[in-house]
């Protein structure tokens, strides 16, 4: 059981919907009990099925179908009521009152009670094992059950972003093993799993909202990315999220490609504590060595949205396009900076990359090639996803890594909070007093304009300090067999399987 800190959830703030390339075909939505789909997964769920303890984005995007909070995000990024039917915020912003929806049932058939809700929130706010499971919950003063269907959350200080954290999954207090027996209120319920093989989900027929279309889902683990195209073409899987353009070109015309963005910050994350990277000039030199356009061209036939800091375009007003041009490829300047820092002969470092994410593996190879031009050697070290989580993310034993950091919530806080010097998930060991001040100010203020200004200050510091070598928000290509339709992109890193349906012939 790994106790890694669970981070951010959702916020109402930004309403930004993505351009979605939808299919032309729109048949009747079949919803008979025999409908089924097999979806390929890049990695098995190796952290936890317990929604409060899962940390990996790849886990949380699946659990999105099993669990719901009092509120949940929709495909436009709005927060809508889920387990609660209404919510109310007091004028001083310190008291949140939720009215529970009538007749919401857990997957085991029992009704959701106010006590379950209190249990779930208390569980995440518990500081008995160090940090609370949801860090924003440290602000909770008390959770009170007013009556059977009303619950009140009192905060120590006013927090305008707090509602986003109420997406925290509601689980039954009676379940003693949420780790292996997940019970939630979502449109799908867990049936079984077999390690490194598959996870089986089934439609929850007593779901309170619009029930899911497809009755049975098999999530099949495809550990070897080199076999994805073959698995799709052969018919072993019907859908795969996040394929590369290379894989896309191999697919037969039985597949529809949905195009969106992955909603993450792909970068070469640098361990700022690692000797050469302690020097900002070295970090800047690496930034000057990178030709992002070449990465886009090789990786995704030129597609990709360039990033210069830790916020991606779905974040609307928080996104700062001007930061993209802080560093443009300049080999001469990069070499000068290295020489100034005392590395005129270059240096060697290793890049840890999770082997199951082809786009990151490929990006790392291109980067290594580009760094050669300034005399820096980057050795790629492919590791398993679980090792990445423990070595790189939790224990910070790495020099650099190519990964995409997602925001499970459309709040700048979700992306920026982690770079505070003492943040428990500041895996790159970034340290800047100016940054700490700016982020503290941003979190403290209730004024939206001021908040935005402080967040932008944070982004600018990250870019100036070259905390990481920022690359892009990757284009996302989802391959779906034409027998199915209805795939929807969220502006967050989640998958909503309930909207998929079978196309009638």
């Amino acid at each position: 059981m790994k106790k890694r800190c669970l981070k951010p959830l959702f916020l109402t703030a930004v309403l930004f919907s993505l351009t979605i390339a939808l299919t032309g075909c729109s048949g009747d939505k079949a919803s008979d009990s025999s409908s089924e789909i097999t979806i390929g997964l890049a990695q098995d769920i190796e952290d936890s099925l317990d929604p409060h303890k899962a940390v990996a984005a790849g886990t949380k995007e699946i659990l999105f179908n099993l669990y719901e909070g009092l509120v949940k995000p929709d495909a436009d990024g709005n927060l809508i009521d889920a387990v609660a039917s209404a919510h109310e915020v007091s004028e001083d912003g310190k008291t949140y009152t939720f009215t529970l929806r009538d007749g919401v049932k857990f997957h085991d058939g029992s009704l959701v009670t106010a006590d379950d809700v209190k249990y779930s929130i208390d569980r995440c706010a518990d500081t008995g094992n160090g940090d609370p499971l949801v860090s924003a919950f440290s602000n909770i003063e008390s959770v009170n059950v007013l009556d059977e269907s009303t619950i009140e959350v009192n905060l120590k200080e006013a927090d305008t972003e707090f509602l986003a954290y109420m997406t925290t999954a509601i689980i039954p207090a009676s379940n003693e093993t949420p780790d292996t027996n997940p019970i939630g209120t979502g449109p799908y319920k867990y049936v079984s799993r077999s390690p490194q093989e598959e996870i089986v989900l089934e439609r929850f027929d007593e779901y309170w909202g619009t029930p899911a279309n497809i009755a049975n889902i098999t999530l099949k683990v495809i550990a070897d990315p080199d076999s994805i195209a073959m698995n799709l073409n052969g018919g072993a899987i019907d859908m795969f999220m996040r394929i590369t353009t290379g894989q896309m070109n191999e697919l037969s015309d039985e597949f529809e490609i949905y195009e969106g963005t992955m909603n993450l910050v792909q970068a070469l994350y640098l361990n700022n504590d690692f000797e050469p990277f302690q020097d900002v000039r070295v970090r800047r030199a690496l930034c000057y060595a990178v030709d992002k356009q070449e990465i886009f061209d090789i990786l995704s036939d030129g597609k990709g949205s360039e990033l210069g800091s830790s916020v991606f375009p779905s974040f609307g007003k928080y996104y700062m396009e001007e930061l993209n041009s802080v560093y443009t490829k300049d080999t001469k300047k990069a070499k000068e900076l290295l020489a100034e820092a005392g590395y005129e002969n270059g240096f060697t470092f290793s890049v840890a990359v999770p082997s199951n994410y082809q786009p990151h593996v490929d990006t790392a190879q291109i980067l290594a090639q580009q760094f050669k031009e300034i005399g820096v050697t980057a050795n790629i070290n492919l590791i398993e996803w679980d090792s990445w989580l423990s070595d790189v993310y939790t224990n910070r034993e790495f020099e650099a890594t190519v990964i995409g950091v997602d925001a499970s919530s459309l709040t700048a806080r979700a992306l920026l909070e982690r770079f505070q010097s003492d943040a428990s998930n500041n895996f790159i060991n970034f340290k800047s007093d100016a940054y700490d001040t700016a982020i503290t100010n941003a979190l403290a203020t209730a004024d939206d304009d001021e908040k935005t200004r402080y967040y932008k200050e944070c982004e600018t510091i990250l870019a100036d300090e070259a905390a990481n070598v920022y690359i892009q928000d990757l284009p996302e290509f989802v391959a779906l067999n034409k027998k199915y339709a209805g795939y929807e992109f969220y502006p967050l890193y989640v998958q909503d399987f309930s909207k998929l349906y079978v196309v009638e012939e």
Partner: protein, 264 residues
């Protein structure tokens, strides 16, 4: 009988030709690499076969021919290292246990039996989980995994040879144990040793390719034949040549060596 001999020599010639082909490729790889094997070129993504790119280009626009040469160097290098480690330690252990016998022999051979119970690829996997991935670790892991089989062969040879007359007369002439072991007996075990080295070399090539295919051997962007085959799998539909060439080179290499080993 005459006929049979003729066919054998045909096998030998074929083996020599194939091995020669590999040797030529190795030499090109060392002295006249056409392109840098890691150099990427976006305009050459999946470029077809042409005089400039004999085997076409891969998904990064890297020249496949250069990468095959590079992979060949890597594979041969690792296999050679593996065999060196295995032979050296196997020889020392086998020589001592076979020559002296006694409790040392008992203990070492029991351990050897236990280790021998593991198929070498499994043993190498366990080693890699202990040492970590990467080319040097693979070489070390495979090398250690190969020790027991060499030790067995050398030991049985020593057991046989130590009772022969020439050893007895050497002892009478006052030669020390080490001198007898390594100056007198060792050269006489060479014929047996050489053929097992050749077979071992082939096994090492196969094992390295297998481990790199699994992704725990050579790490990208370094090329290795096994790694290339794994990467080429995605593009089997549109660019089958990407998988064909590394595969063919691997087959030619193993075929050549095994034909030669058969005739020795």
């Amino acid at each position: 009988m005459q006929k049979k001999k003729k066919r054998h020599s045909f096998n030998f010639i074929l083996g020599a030709v194939l091995t020669g082909l590999i040797a030529v490729m190795l030499l090109i790889g060392i002295f006249a690499m056409p392109y840098a094997p890691d150099a990427m070129n976006k305009s050459l993504k999946f470029a077809g076969i042409s005089p400039a790119h004999l085997m076409g280009c891969d998904n990064f626009g890297r020249d496949i021919f250069s990468r095959v040469l590079q992979g060949l160097k890597m594979t041969l290098g690792i296999a050679a290292g593996t065999v060196c480690i295995g032979t050296f330690f196997g020889m020392v252990i086998g020589a001592f246990t076979g020559y002296f016998g006694g409790w040392l022999d008992e203990v070492l051979m029991r351990i050897n039996d236990a280790v021998f119970a593991f198929p070498s690829i499994l043993l190498a996997l366990v080693m890699v989980s202990l040492f970590g991935t990467g080319k040097w670790n693979v070489m070390l892991a495979l090398g250690i995994a190969f020790i027991p089989s060499f030790a067995r062969i050398v030991r049985s040879e020593f057991l046989y040879q130590k009772n022969l007359d020439y050893v007895k007369s050497a002892r009478l002439m006052g030669a020390g144990h080490l001198r007898i072991m390594f100056v007198h007996i060792l050269p006489n075990t060479l014929p047996v040793l050489i053929s097992s080295i050749m077979i071992g070399f082939n096994n090492a090539v196969l094992a390295e390719a297998g481990m790199s295919y699994l992704g725990i051997g050579v790490q990208p962007p370094d090329a290795s034949l096994g790694r290339m085959l794994s990467e080429a799998q995605t593009y089997l539909f549109s660019t089958p040549t990407y998988a064909m060439f590394p595969g063919l080179v691997l087959i030619v290499m193993i075929l050549g060596f095994s034909l030669l080993a058969d005739e020795m």
